[in-house]
Amino acid sequence: MKFFSEENLELAEIIIKRYPKPRSAMIPLLHLAQEQDGWISDDAMVEIAELVGTTSAEVLGTCSFYEMFKRRRVGKYVINVCTTMSCALMGAEELLEHAERRLGVKAGGTTADGMFTIEGAECQAACTEAPCLQVNYRHRYRVTPDQFDSIVDELSSTDHDVPDHGVLSQVRQHIPEDRFVGTVAPENVTSAPAWMHDQGSDQ
């Protein structure tokens, strides 16, 4: 049973080749898996383990360390309401309660239609714009309960530019062949990397 789509599998192979050791590609591949499904299933971890030549347990260990890798199915839009100090003082609790009422799920839950997951979160480094939240990690500032409703309406329509949960960016980086410097395993590094050479010396 294969997890990655054919297209993503191809991409995975390219990503693996960017590293001197396949195992180093583990986190990029976890991102790729999350991009494909919106979350990371056990099947995804098993396949990543195979691709990078390690055990599924090792992939689980890495994956579960990062809160932003979701190991349970989440909504298309993950809304994190900041509940840390500045936001709390500015009404984050009310906002979160409103959000729960509006979406009909408790924090941590996902709506039945699979559209929204609502979570309470720690400080999002936008304390001057409290209370704030993130939709798939994109900030929305000084959010009132009313504004929350319009965010939900906006996301429910097609008229917005928030990509599905898991999509890291809308422009994929592509390294052309001639710019790819190749990989050297750390133990085989004998000289400073090219970019550290003097401007004048030949490279």
Partner: protein
């Protein structure tokens, strides 16, 4: 071996100057200086990680004292260390208070209680009271992480010992830290258990009761246990173990750290098969075939059993008696039997190996290497069985050495082995063609050829498959002797004390002390007086002779030829035609059930003496419990038989036997009983030197497989249907049912789909087996494990053939 001169760095530990080794961690230097620094995560056989902070001490390197984790700080010149300063004490109290925040303190119901580093160090260095009043973490208690290991996450202090072991040492990173922060916990991947052959070691090194071993859980409390140091004889690596018993039952083995052999590790088979010794199925009285009912074995007394045995031996006459087995025996037992056979019965038909090893002259005559030599050689060349399955701790030592870059492993063989993931090169060839492949490699311009020619080489040599004769292995030895004359050898023989049995003369033509029957030592002749005139038969030849009625009495010394000899058909024929079978064993194995006289012998832990590992290292065995029923030591049975045959072995105790061995066995001269009983025996005493000259064949072309045939390859698995495992309740279900593994391409060619039953035809039999596709199998090859529950490969094998081919057909 480092190039830096040792003892170069002067550090002051608690006011006393100490010469430390450059690069050494402070905690290790303190250990050597006799100053104990408390620790949880540090382990001298694994890398330092600084997880627990228990080892904080005041270190002054000129900038004033600072708390530093001594397991992470290498010694430096002029370093001043105080392990008892006020700050250190406060740090220790603080760390312990933290470690106990989430610890359940369920010591009264914890297996580790009484020998728990957390308990002990809390008593010694802890604050006495905790300020923590909140709710602790709660997890389901305990969860099995494998069939043998249970995990209680509440007790875990996250020291990373088990996970580091699994990754660094065992190479099975199947347990991991998962989640993070307060939720950090050790787990396996869902439905992928920690099924490592070495999992039991994590239980031993866990500094708390988080990991417990299923076979030992709630069996005893540490303060009820007594321990003696002994040597594992489950395989021929000979790991050092601490044998522990409670109420005259073996309850636990612990690995003991010796530099030369096991570094403190044990494999799970060696660690847990003590259950067999305690088994209620043990043979405890002699048995004798019922005169009235052929199918019955009746209990009898020793006198009658010995008389019947002696009668059968006498009636047969020396040429028509054969003795098979002896690798389960101690050196002393083996010597007694070797002496009985030659000087009293008068036969040289003795063989400790069951047609699945290497000829004794090869084992004893080739230049030898130690495990340490192998771990330091430029190249280890493995041509033989899958070491992970057959000699697990040898595999572990080589794996660790290879992953650290101390050696490079090259293997030549026909199947994917446990060595492959860390080998520099794994060269696949068809079974029987290893010598040819090696020659081709050495004649090529492959840089590997230069590496082998120019660097040091240790060859680990054994039988790669039960379905090929010893000849292919002999050919490899001959190529290596010829083209890599600097190479030394480590024989990959599997049975417990097989090396000791050969050293003691339990092989045709071989006498104790690595001498041959044509050239006995003088002291031996003085004591033994007579010897058979010419070399006798090996196991295969004995069974062949028996099958054609040329052998009347067969003595089995802990041997089960019907299950263990590669060719079941031949063994069955031999048994059918022989007049009397005398079996000496711990259990009623299949072969024992066909015997006419059965004598129960003592088992591991019930006998003292010595054993010899594959390197030729003699180490001590310890008696820990009293044997059950009327079982007797094998040497006593030999002595009794001698007496009934009108002779006298002249031995009265194991110590007396050793003294005699030291006198008559040239290679063992100087290894006195004092040395055996002294501190030398901890690391074992390496026996070197031999006067046996091996005979090596010139390589031949093995027969070609015809278009329809598949070459059969059969190796052993760690978990198999062997006697010890079948009688160990915790282990017996670990052995998988046998399947025939074939390359998917071959299956397709034969029109068979994977997972279906097929008819398997060999020259010996036609039977039905499950065929499974496996793309790691070489084309034209079929792999069947040798001895799994539900049927062994021995049914298909002709032991007289160089290699065995089979055909498969759809049903």
């Amino acid at each position: 071996m480092s190039d830096v001169p040792p003892n170069e760095v002067t550090v002051t530990i608690n006011g006393t100057e100490f010469e430390a080794r450059p690069g050494e961690m402070l905690i290790a230097a303190a250990d050597r200086a006799g100053v104990h620094i408390p620790r949880f995560c540090y382990h001298e056989r694994m890398s330092s990680v600084g997880m627990c902070r228990m080892c904080l001490v005041d270190v002054d390197t000129g900038r004033g004292p600072m708390l530093q984790p001594s397991c992470m700080v290498p010694v430096a010149e002029g370093m001043v260390v105080d392990t008892q300063s006020e700050d250190t004490k406060r740090a220790q109290e603080g760390i312990l208070e933290f470690l106990l925040v989430n610890h359940p303190l369920d010591c009264p119901v914890c297996d580790k209680g009484g020998e728990c580093p957390l308990q002990d160090q809390t008593m010694a260095y802890g604050p006495g009271e905790s300020r923590f009043v909140e709710e602790k973490r709660h997890y389901e208690k305990p969860i099995p992480v494998s069939d043998l290991v249970h995990l209680d996450r509440e007790r875990c202090i996250l020291c990373d010992r088990c996970t580091r072991f699994a990754d660094e040492i065992a190479g099975d990173p199947l347990i991991q830290f998962t989640e993070r922060g307060n939720s950090t916990q050790i787990l396996t991947f869902p439905d992928e258990p920690f099924s490592s052959y070495f999992s039991g070691n994590t239980v031993q090194i866990c500094p708390v009761g988080a990991l417990t071993a299923a076979p030992y859980r709630f069996k005893a409390r540490p303060w009820d246990l007594e321990q003696v140091e002994s040597t594992c004889t489950t395989c021929a690596v000979g790991c050092r173990v601490g044998v522990e018993s409670s109420r005259n039952q073996l309850v636990r083995y612990l690995g003991v750290d010796v530099e030369s052999v096991n570094h403190g590790w044990l494999c799970d088979k060696g660690r847990f098969d003590y259950e067999a010794v305690n088994s209620g199925d043990r043979l405890v009285t002699p048995l004798i075939r019922d005169n009235h009912d052929e199918n019955q074995l009746l209990g009898t007394d020793w006198g009658s059993a010995l008389a019947r045995a002696a009668e059968a031996i006498e009636q047969a006459g020396p040429q028509r008696v054969g003795i098979i087995g002896g690798s389960r025996l101690t050196n002393e037992d083996a010597y007694a039997w070797a002496k009985l056979a030659r000087s009293i019965i008068g036969t040289d038909n003795v063989d400790a190996q069951l047609g699945d090893g290497l000829p004794a002259d090869l084992v004893l005559g080739l230049p030898t290497a130690t495990i340490a030599d192998a771990c330091e050689a430029d190249t280890v060349l493995i041509v033989g069985p899958d070491l992970k399955e057959e000699l697990p701790i040898l595999h572990l030592r080589l794996r660790v050495a290879a992953t650290k870059g101390q050696t490079r492993i090259v293997e030549i063989g026909s199947i994917a082995t446990g060595t492959e993931p860390h080998a520099q090169r794994s060269i696949r060839c068809r079974s029987g063609e290893a010598a040819k492949t090696l020659v081709a490699l050495l004649e090529s311009d492959d840089p590997l050829a230069d590496q082998l020619r120019d660097g040091s080489v240790v060859a680990v040599l054994g039988r790669a498959s039960m379905a090929e004769s010893a000849t292919p292995a002999l050919e490899v030895a001959s190529v290596i002797r010829d083209r890599l004359p600097h190479a030394t050898f480590l024989p990959a023989l599997r049975r417990g004390n097989v090396r000791g049995a050969l050293d003691m003369g339990l092989a045709p033509g071989i006498l104790p002390g690595r001498t041959t029957i044509d050239d006995p030592s003088e002291p031996l002749m003085n004591l033994w007086q007579t010897l058979p005139e010419k070399a006798g038969l090996d196991t295969t030849a004995m069974l062949q002779a028996a099958a054609v009625g040329q052998l009347d009495t067969l003595i089995l010394l802990g041997a089960d030829p019907l299950r263990d000899f590669p060719d079941r058909n031949l063994a069955v024929e031999g048994f059918r035609h022989v007049k009397t079978v005398i079996a000496i064993d711990n259990f009623v194995t299949e072969s024992v059930s066909h015997a006419d006289v059965v004598m129960p012998s003592t088992a591991y832990g019930e006998q003292g003496g010595t054993t010899t590992n594959i390197e030729g290292r003699v180490s001590r065995l310890a008696q820990k419990i009293t044997p059950p029923g009327s079982t007797r030591d094998d040497w006593m049975i030999a002595a009794e038989l001698a007496w009934r045959l009108g002779g006298d072995l002249g031995i009265g105790s194991r110590e007396e036997i050793w003294c005699e061995i030291e006198q008559v066995a040239p290679s063992h001269a100087g290894v006195t009983i004092e040395r055996i009983c002294g501190p030398d025996a901890h690391e074992g005493i390496l026996i070197q030197g031999s006067s046996v000259k091996p005979t090596l064949p010139t390589p031949q072309e093995p027969p070609v497989v015809d278009g329809y045939g598949l070459r059969l390859v059969s190796g052993r698995k760690l978990w198999d249907a062997g006697t010890g495992i079948s009688h160990s309740p915790s282990l017996r279900d670990l052995a998988e049912e046998p399947t025939l593994k074939v390359h998917p391409g071959d299956l397709q060619r034969l029109g068979v789909s994977s997972g279906t039953a097929v008819r398997v035809i060999s020259t010996r039999t036609t039977e039905t087996l499950l065929a499974v596709a496996d793309d790691t199998i070489l084309r034209g090859t079929a792999v069947l494990p040798f001895n799994q529950p539900g049927g062994g490969a021995n049914r298909f094998i002709d032991a007289t053939a160089l290699v065995n081919d089979i055909r498969i057909e759809t049903l």
